[in-house]
């Protein structure tokens, strides 16, 4: 069986069809990019996988476990983390607190032990802080460690969001337009980090992205969506050369 399988997925909002009969699979350890024109349903796929939206048909499985049957707050536990197109952080909290919240699913002892700062609770917190520091080092955001997120530049906030996703220790990471709003230098850093996350942490990545040069650089396979369905699927070169993809993008 495949690692992540999206099977005959459908999503409707009243009369509007966002996803129709979409099926694809993602192999463990690959970087899988989803591209397509605006309104193709790319983010909707993420929203279904992370249980923000209830699909009207089909299902999603991760290692044969049906993701579309678990509640939204168990997604982190199932090993799935994501970032958002518009950045969803805890704005008034510091970078480090945002990352620590990402570790919510790991037990930090009972409330009484925490309130009284008993050794067991402190040890658990120290362990989490250690893990969070590793991520801060990996993504090079240590200068912003104690800054509230709300005041940080856009590019940094995007990286903080990836860091928080990593803090949940996922096996599958969904990145929604990670390069949008980044300058060329930040986009280059992002490409390196995606490689690091894939190779060093062994995390499978699915990303929605418009920046074709980034997609060509990091993606192993590319899915091009249009009108809620599959237009083309293959290597970055194949998809870019596919006549339907060219037609969809250029409107021919």
């Amino acid at each position: 069986m495949s690692y992540l399988a999206v099977e005959h997925l459908g999503l409707q909002f009243g009369g509007l069809t966002a996803i129709r009969g979409l099926s694809f699979t993602v192999e463990q350890g690959e970087v899988f990019a989803i591209i397509g024109p605006n309104g193709a349903g790319k983010t909707s796929v993420f929203n279904v996988i992370t249980r923000v939206f209830e699909p009207s048909a089909g299902r999603v499985t991760l290692r044969d476990r049906e993701i579309t049957a678990i509640p939204r707050h168990r997604i982190a536990e199932a090993g799935i983390a994501r970032t958002f197109q518009n950045i969803e952080l805890f704005e008034s909290a510091t970078v480090i607190d945002n990352l620590l919240l990402g570790r919510h699913r790991f037990s930090h002892g009972n409330p009484l032990a925490q309130a009284l700062r008993l050794p067991s609770a402190c040890r658990a917190e120290d362990h989490s802080r250690g893990k969070v520091e590793e991520i801060i080092d990996l993504l090079d955001i240590s200068p912003y460690r104690n800054s509230p997120v709300a005041g940080l530049p856009y590019g940094v906030r995007k990286v903080v969001e990836i860091a928080r996703a990593l803090a949940t220790e996922p096996e599958l990471l969904l990145l929604d337009e990670p390069a949008s709003g980044l300058n060329p230098e930040e986009t280059r850093d992002l490409a390196f980090w995606i490689d690091d996350i894939k190779n060093d942490l062994g995390i499978t990545i699915v990303m929605v992205e418009h920046d074709m040069s980034l997609v060509a650089e990091v993606a192993d396979r590319v899915l091009c969506m249009n009108m809620g369905g599959v237009l083309a699927l293959g290597s970055p070169e194949e998809v870019r050369a596919h006549p339907d993809v060219v037609a969809a993008y250029l409107g021919v």
Binding site: T50, V52, P71, R72, H73, R74, I75, A76, E77, A81, R82, F84, E88, L89, F90, E91, S92, A93, L101, G102, H104, R105, H108, P111, Q114, A115, R117, R164, T168
Partner: protein, 294 residues
């Protein structure tokens, strides 16, 4: 000490005691508002119903005060939990006035239910401190007022430790800032929201059980929610420390107005403060910036 100074201090002490109850009620409102963005107009009626239930448990069922208080708190918590989980969750995502209308309707239903079950007459129940006083120099303090203060302090301290130190409390704060992000960090937002309502319900029950010996067990007890709203606006809407400061100040102002201002001012003072603050100083004492990021 001169007699008018003694009187002033005495009034302030009484005001702090009654203000502590306003602060408790205001705290419950803030907790609910922060977690679910609903102003719970039924909060005062949960308090009022708790006072009646407490009366029933003590004078009819003959339970000792502490046991009755515990049972009342649990019942109020259970009622609030169910209200959030079964009724208010239905209107999630609707405009804010939907929450206001729904809680107002719940308020009237509760008021009607209590009136049908217990009848409209006022009554009172004995507490371990009824009629007892403590002398502090020239000051005379009703023990009940001291108990109110201690209870309010203990609850506030517990709340502080819960919100600041425990991971559940921090999750509550996180969920109130960004529900979507909280969900995907593995925080069970829905369950937490119901839990926050239950906590606020238990706090309302404490408020009711403390207020009833001073103000009688009466349908009119729900009015306290209006005083608490005034306290919230004065302290800064949405601020937890503001709720406490505002509650205490409203309590003191009311007591002083009862003696130093013409007859009738005591009852309307809280609302005069409310209007004054809204006109002159809408952010309140410890207010946070209003509005949300879109």
């Amino acid at each position: 000490m001169e007699s008018h100074v003694v009187q002033l201090v005495q009034l302030c002490l009484n005001g702090i005691a009654i203000g502590a109850i306003y602060a408790l009620v205001a705290l419950g409102l803030v907790l609910i508002y922060k977690a679910t963005e609903i102003i719970n107009f039924a909060h005062g009626d949960i308090l009022m119903a708790s006072a009646f239930v407490g009366w029933g448990l003590i004078t009819i069922a003959g339970l000792p005060f502490w046991l009755a208080a515990l049972v009342t708190m649990l019942l109020a918590a259970a009622l609030s939990y169910v209200l959030e989980a079964r009724v208010l969750r239905v209107i999630v995502g609707q405009p804010q006035f939907a929450g206001a209308m729904l809680t107002l309707a719940l308020a009237f239903m509760l008021r009607g239910a209590v009136s049908m079950a217990f009848g409209p007459t006022s009554r009172t129940f004995p507490t371990p401190w009824t009629g007892q006083t403590t002398h502090l120099g020239p000051l005379v303090i009703a023990d009940l007022n001291l108990v109110i203060l201690v209870a309010a302090l203990v609850i506030t301290a517990l709340l502080f430790f819960f919100l600041r130190r425990t991971s559940v409390g921090i999750s509550v704060q996180a969920a109130s800032q960004n529900q979507l992000a909280a969900y995907l960090c593995g925080i069970p937002v829905k369950r937490l929201n119901s839990m926050v309502w239950a906590m606020a319900g238990a706090m309302a029950a404490v408020g009711g059980l403390l207020l009833a010996p001073i103000a009688l067990v009466d349908i009119g007890l729900w009015y306290v929610v209006l005083k608490a709203l005034a306290a919230l606006v004065l302290g800064g809407f949405g601020s937890i420390p503001g709720a406490i400061v505002g509650g205490l100040l409203i309590g003191i102002v009311e007591q002083l107005a009862g003696v130093y201002l013409p007859d009738g001012f005591k009852d309307v003072m809280a609302y005069l403060v409310l209007i004054g603050v809204l006109v002159l100083w809408p952010r309140g004492i410890l207010g946070e910036a209003h509005g949300r990021r879109v």
